[in-house]
């Protein structure tokens, strides 16, 4: 392995230098690594905007009655917060950044199957983002429908729904093309000797995700198009006055948006599966279980969408069927959790920052998953639907899950991507306010929901007041931790120590090439001789 590492550490300029250094060389680059960085910069910027909106919403809830804004503004805030976070951060999420950067490297390829299509995906992303931002400032103001754009209100409201919805439509192309690119890449560009069962598990998760991106995204595409057509031409498909059924909108919307959450979480799980073996210095427990459960989650997760609609007026039969399937889809997710924990058993565990955040992922995602199960029970759902419990639940899975996995991945792969090591003590320090703040903010929401506080409400009753204050203060700790974490990376970019090729002792292919990698990743396409996650045993003290 060391000989191979030495061989790869040639005097080749890295991808950061080769191919030019000006702005043009970046935004015209078809190098998957540069495209990943382009996504990263955009997405973190949008994340900060979305987080700011969240902080402002929490400030509003600090007191009863108006605090810093009027109800209409609050409605726009939770709508735009959702649209930005979901469409511009969590859905592109790990595939756009770490999938783009590391999928080819992890399978021993020089790039994805269609590098120019990859750049086009990013252009669609940026176009959609610009359109979304434009919708905030033009027309009759930002949409106030919630990110779900439910009819009939989304058809009737005067706010800028059409532009916002069209932005999401354009963003969908980015997702679909990325899915096509990744699925083809995995089929065609695996290195010699890398059969499917020798492929690392992050690519497995990207494969399952790619299929969901391809098959589910067009459905929201057509749904959003129909909203625009309804607004402009009055087709009638969602208008009861013309015989339309608003519930069909919800069906179409959630047929995509539920699988979308698996687009969000599967790659996150895949990345965690890369991190844990490295810091447990032990091979992954249950490789096939994790690989197949990714596919099972994608498949089962595509038929549970009705659980968002239990109280909307669906028939009893549908309620029961979707509830049952929702319980079933928890099984492959739980299998993954059991496998990660089993990997730790008898491992030689080192809690570096990536591991710390990865372990936190397991904890927070478990809470998110379990609260999801609670919501899947029909009778319980009647009380919890459209309350803060739901908000707490999805922040645990999307933020505690995907968000923390994103940060864990950044902590893990930053040295490889940029060739600089960040301050590990600061990264660990940031964890404390983040973890405390996160739970203060979102666990409180679970409690608020059970107490009966509705979501998307600008104001609250006195009995909810203390909890809201706790949540808002929690949001401050969380944001403080986030700023420390992200600021640490920025500092490292300019003043970080040079990183070695393999700072963590990982055994997958990315650690055999230099930090940062050369333009074409490998001097020679590697030949794979055995299964992934093969660690040499550590002598026990």
């Amino acid at each position: 392995m060391s000989a191979m590492a030495a061989h790869a550490l040639g005097d080749e300029p890295s991808y950061l230098e080769a191919g030019g250094r000006g702005l043009r060389s970046w935004i015209l680059s078809t190098d998957h690594k540069r495209i990943a960085i382009l996504y990263l910069v955009c997405m973190l910027s949008f994340f900060l905007v979305g987080a700011t909106l969240g902080v402002l919403m929490r400030l509003e809830q600090l007191t009863m009655g108006p605090t810093i804004m009027q109800p209409q503004t609050y409605n726009a805030m939770f709508t735009v917060h959702g649209v930005i976070m979901i469409f511009l951060f969590v859905i592109p999420g790990l595939p756009a950044v770490f999938g783009n950067f590391f999928l080819p490297i992890l399978i021993g390829a020089k790039d994805v199957a269609f590098p120019r299509l990859n750049l086009l995906s990013w252009y669609f992303f940026v176009t959609g983002a610009v359109l979304a931002v434009t919708s905030l400032f033009t027309g009759a103001g930002p949409p106030d429908t919630g990110w779900t754009f439910y009819v009939p209100y989304s058809i009737r409201t005067g706010t800028n729904v059409s532009l916002a919805v069209f932005a999401a439509f354009v963003l969908g192309f980015s997702s679909i093309l990325t899915g096509i690119n990744f699925v083809t890449t995995i089929h065609r560009l695996r290195a010699p000797g890398m059969g499917w069962h020798r492929m690392p598990l992050f690519p497995w998760s990207l494969y399952a995700t790619g299929w969901v991106q391809i098959l589910a995204t067009p459905i929201i595409g057509i749904t959003l198009l129909l909203v625009i057509l309804e607004r402009f031409f009055g087709i009638g498909v969602f208008d009861p006055a013309k015989g339309g059924d608003p519930l069909l909108y919800q069906h179409l919307f959630w047929i995509y948006s539920h699988p979308a959450v698996y687009i969000m979480i599967l790659p996150a799980m895949g990345a965690i599966t890369e991190i844990i073996p490295t810091f447990a210095h032990r091979t992954i427990f249950g490789y096939r279980a994790i690989a197949y459960s990714s596919v099972a989650i994608a498949a089962l997760g595509s038929v549970v969408w009705g659980h968002h609609m239990f109280t909307s007026g669906m028939g009893e039969m549908a309620n029961v069927v979707f509830s049952l399937l929702t319980f079933l889809v928890a099984i492959p997710s739980a299998i993954k959790v059991f496998n990660w924990v089993s990997t730790l058993h008898k491992g030689s565990i080192v809690v570096e920052p990536p591991m710390l955040y990865a372990l936190t992922f397991i904890f927070l995602f478990s809470i998110g998953g379990l609260t999801g199960l609670m919501q899947g029970a029909l009778a319980v759902n009647v009380h919890l639907h459209d309350t803060y419990f739901i908000v707490g639940h999805f922040h645990y899975v999307m933020f505690g899950g995907t968000g923390f996995a994103f940060f864990a991945s950044l902590l893990y792969w930053f040295p490889k991507m940029f060739g600089k090591m960040y301050n590990r003590r600061v990264a660990t320090l940031a964890w404390f306010p983040m973890f405390i703040g996160f739970n203060m903010l979102y666990f409180t929401m679970l409690v608020l929901g059970v107490m009966g506080m509705p979501r998307r409400y600008y104001d609250h009753l006195p009995q909810f007041h203390t909890a809201h204050v706790v949540a808002t203060v929690g949001s401050w700790f969380l944001v403080a931790g986030l700023l420390i974490l992200l600021g640490n990376f920025v500092v490292a970019l300019f003043r970080g120590r040079k990183a070695e090729a393999n700072p963590w002792g990982g055994v997958s292919l990315e650690w055999t090439i230099s930090s940062p990698p050369p333009m074409e990743n490998f001097e020679q396409v590697p030949t794979i001789a055995g299964p992934p996650y093969h660690f040499n045993p550590v002598a026990h003290r």
Binding site: L215, I255, S302, G306, M314, G315, M317, A318, V321
Partner: protein, 99 residues
């Protein structure tokens, strides 16, 4: 060059007569379907559609789109994609039919 030699170098070729036969079959099926739906009562028309239309689509997929001569991977992928759509519509009817 012999047909086999051409195919070895340029990939499988679907001969003109085959294409024309498929086209003729599709046209005939269209006429049959139209006839049934216009002349006979609705139930028969619906059954005719449920059988003949997928058959027509299959002919286009298999011969015009070359799927018959592709490997199991592509065939499986097509099956997965079409099944997904069918399942979506089917699951929807758990709601629509029982409300």
């Amino acid at each position: 060059m012999t047909q086999l030699a051409i195919e070895e170098e340029h990939g499988h070729i679907v001969p003109y007569p085959t294409l024309i036969k498929v086209w003729a079959t599709l046209a005939v099926l269209t006429f049959i379907l139209t006839f049934i739906s216009k002349v006979f009562h609705e139930l028969l028309a619906v059954w005719a559609m449920l059988f003949i239309t997928p058959l027509k689509a299959c002919l286009v997929f298999y011969f015009f789109m070359h799927l018959k001569f592709e490997g199991p991977l592509l065939k499986t992928m097509v099956f997965v994609a079409l099944s997904t759509l069918v399942i979506f519509i089917g699951m929807l009817f758990f709601d629509v039919s029982f409300r």
